[in-house]
Amino acid sequence: MRIRLSELEPGEAAVIEDVVLPESERQLLIRFGFFDGAEVRCSRRAPLGDPVVYSVDGSEVALRTETACRIFASPVDRKACERTG
């Protein structure tokens, strides 16, 4: 199943498959750990709902929904979540 990163609920994790953004934005996101193959976990939403904080590569990085909805990923099942978490 393929979802948008913005559809992740806090606590859920997914592996990024595709970043559909202009090259310069993709380059920026890669530096923060968002690239295909990377596992990302949704940690929490900002109090007003947007941006959303993701746990990636051991650090916490916030993205706006407008960016996160252009990143496609496949959800990691619950068991895998528990193993890595």
Binding site: L21, Q27, F35, A46, L48, D50, P51, V53, G58, A62
Partner: protein, 624 residues
């Protein structure tokens, strides 16, 4: 894995040369600045790289009996020149930066608690072929949170020496001195294709795992603090308390300190006066130079108080959370959460606010923030607001005892500035400063205790930059105004104010400001208050004090006699919008590193002020 690898050229022949300049490079949040401060012990210079806005920090470090220059490069994640910061880093490292010799060695700072990610910067740095020492910073935190790294294996893999250090605690730094006395070029090693960022990251992950890197446990207590500070209800509540505290402190502590400093400086001038021969020299020294310098120095307490707060918020990690909470609201005007604190500070004074906009990495957002900040009602507008409101608006209750007409007028002026700022932001962000290629990415660092040393250094740094840069321009402008009020000389004596060049200028611009309901005296006030808004009160005091008709009455009464109601309201609106502050212009020039932006800002704001005052005067005259 793609095996398209390249090998570093051996520069053995060039190694072991005398090292005079060394570059310090590392990703943002790697503790690079703390390390720089440690190594140089404050012996540093702050400037701008020629032609661009990136700030250049250089310092001196003593190694043995020689002195080595350390260049602190901007924080970068890679050496692919996408951002201005990265271009600077690449140019300095390649020796193609104007007026800067190519460094003979590199200190690569990486966050040991974030090594998998930070290591990808090692590849392009090692590929330069310069002698390089990798400093794994925050080694103390790594151990504390049960992480580990085999530095010897890592050094073998990278082909460069590796040292585990802690810039905050000052441990492990003797390795830097040893390295600089005996620096070798990197050994042969295999590196990924540097242009392929993904390959670099895969390489970094492989190197980390080969060096037995065990990442630290997630900072559990940091997450727990976030459970409260980013909570749906408590988060915004704490945010508002923090914002209120910043505002209150800058006003409540900074302002009285500024006033006290003003009194002290005035008293010093009075004490010094008898020791200087009366006449031209005393006037030049005290009225020209001393007053000019004082008018800058009095801002210093507010700036330091504000930066103390920002320093504590940033070093503790809360500033990033505040930006996260404010982002949703700020996005409505096309700005992001990081613009919030600078704009809030601008209610006290635009100068520190503009300096605080450095925390915004996106250049266009930062520029938009700088351009709208002076619309916020700063404390320098209060003297003229208070004077005109007291003189022209009778006090009547509007909402019982809670709100009177005068308080309402003051509130409306605050709203007016805010609306102008929002409108301008929206206009800029949907036209010339539209950001297309920079999404909002905000890293939330771990919470840490701010250290006295780091906050103190930041205060000194900002204070010094402000006094140096704004001080020179303000000094020049004050001397100019002083000169114009004291020329032309009559038989070697300065003229009466009405005969001075300034008065002639006032009469000269009178036709232009008459439609706004202003006379030539207000015109002179507008001219002199280009230096600083509050100057108009003093100028009007002098001018009306010399006029026989209004000599004996207070300034309030003189204004009531000389200005119509609609003219007074137009003047208030003019001050809400106009760009009358050389300190701000000087800081904008410094921060944007161009004369174009302060010029655009000056003409835009003053033009808007003129049109708004024209409209208000016309409207009120028609009604009356």
């Amino acid at each position: 894995m793609n095996q398209l690898l390249q090998t570093v050229p051996s520069l053995a022949a060039k190694s072991r040369q005398q090292i005079r300049t060394v570059a310090l490079i590392g990703p943002p949040n790697s503790g690079k600045t703390t390390l720089f401060n440690r190594l140089t012990n404050l012996r540093q210079k702050v400037g701008n790289y020629p032609g661009i806005t990136v700030e250049q920090h250089t310092g001196v470090m003593a190694v043995g009996d020689q002195e080595i220059t350390i260049v602190d490069l901007p924080g970068v994640y890679s050496l692919n020149p996408y951002s201005e910061d990265e271009r600077v880093a690449v140019n300095v490292l390649n020796g193609t930066m104007d007026g800067m010799p190519r460094p003979e060695a590199v200190l690569l700072v990486l966050d040991a608690t974030n090594l998998t990610r930070h290591l990808s910067l090692a590849a392009p740095v090692i590929a330069l072929g310069l002698p390089t020492l990798a400093l794994l910073n925050m080694g103390d935190l790594l151990t504390k949170r049960s992480g580990s790294i085999d530095a010897v294996k890592l050094a073998g893999d990278l082909g460069i020496p590796v040292a585990i250090v802690s810039a905050t605690m000052g441990t492990g730094l003797d390795a830097v001195g040893r390295f600089l006395q005996q620096a070798d070029s990197p050994a042969h090693t295999t590196l990924p294709i540097l242009q392929d960022v993904r390959e670099c990251r895969k390489w970094a992950a492989r190197v980390a795992s080969e060096s037995d890197y065990r990442p630290p446990l997630p900072p559990a207590w940091s997450r727990r603090i976030d459970d409260i500070l980013l909570h749906k209800v408590w988060g915004p509540l704490v945010f508002m308390i923090v914002v209120g505290a910043v505002f209150q402190t800058v006003f409540g502590v900074g302002q009285p300190l500024s006033n006290a400093l003003q009194d002290l400086l005035t008293e010093m001038a009075q004490k010094a006066a008898p020791f200087i021969a009366n006449g031209f020299l005393r006037s030049l020294l005290l009225d020209g130079i001393w007053k000019g310098v004082s008018s800058v120095l009095v801002f210093l307490p507010q700036i330091l108080v504000l930066f103390l707060f920002i320093g504590l918020l940033e070093d503790s990690g809360y500033l990033a959370r505040a930006a996260l909470i404010a982002d949703r609201t700020m996005s409505f005007v096309g700005l992001n959460g990081k613009a919030f604190i600078p704009l809030l500070s601008a209610y006290a004074c635009a100068v520190p606010a503009i300096m605080a906009s450095r925390t915004i990495e996106n250049k266009r957002d930062r520029l938009a923030t700088i351009l709208i900040a002076p619309f916020m009602t700063c404390s320098a507008r209060l003297p003229i607001y208070t004077l005109l409101i007291a003189a022209f608006i009778p006090e009547r209750p509007v909402v019982g005892v809670f709100l009177g007409t005068r308080a309402l007028a003051m509130l409306l002026l605050y709203v007016l500035g805010f609306v102008a700022a929002i409108g301008t932001a929206k206009m800029l962000k949907s036209s010339v400063l539209r950001s297309t290629s920079a999404p909002f990415v905000l890293e939330l660092p771990e919470y840490r205790w701010p250290t006295l040393r780091s906050v103190g250094l930041r205060l000194m740094d900002r204070g010094r930059v402000f006094v140096q840069q704004a001080g020179t321009v303000i000094l020049f402008m004050s001397l100019l105004v002083w000169g114009l009020t004291n020329l032309p000389l009559h038989q070697g004596h300065p003229p009466a104010l009405e005969d001075s060049v300034v008065a002639h200028l006032g009469h000269f611009i009178e036709p232009a400001i008459r439609p706004l309901g202003f006379n030539w005296k207000i015109g002179v006030g507008l001219l002199t208050s280009v230096v600083a808004r509050e100057v108009i009160v003093g100028t009007l005091g002098t001018l009306y004090g010399r006029d026989p008709q209004t000599q004996s009455v207070s300034l309030q009464a003189a204004l009531q006699h000389d200005l119509t109601f609609s003219g007074a309201m137009a003047l208030l609106v003019f001050f809400a919008f106009a760009m009358q502050c050389t300190s701000t212009l000087a800081v904008v020039r410094r921060e944007t590193n161009s004369w174009m932006w302060p010029a655009i800002q000056f003409f835009y704001m003053t033009g808007l002020a003129f049109l708004a005052a024209l409209f208000v005067h016309g409207l009120l005259s028609a009604i009356n």
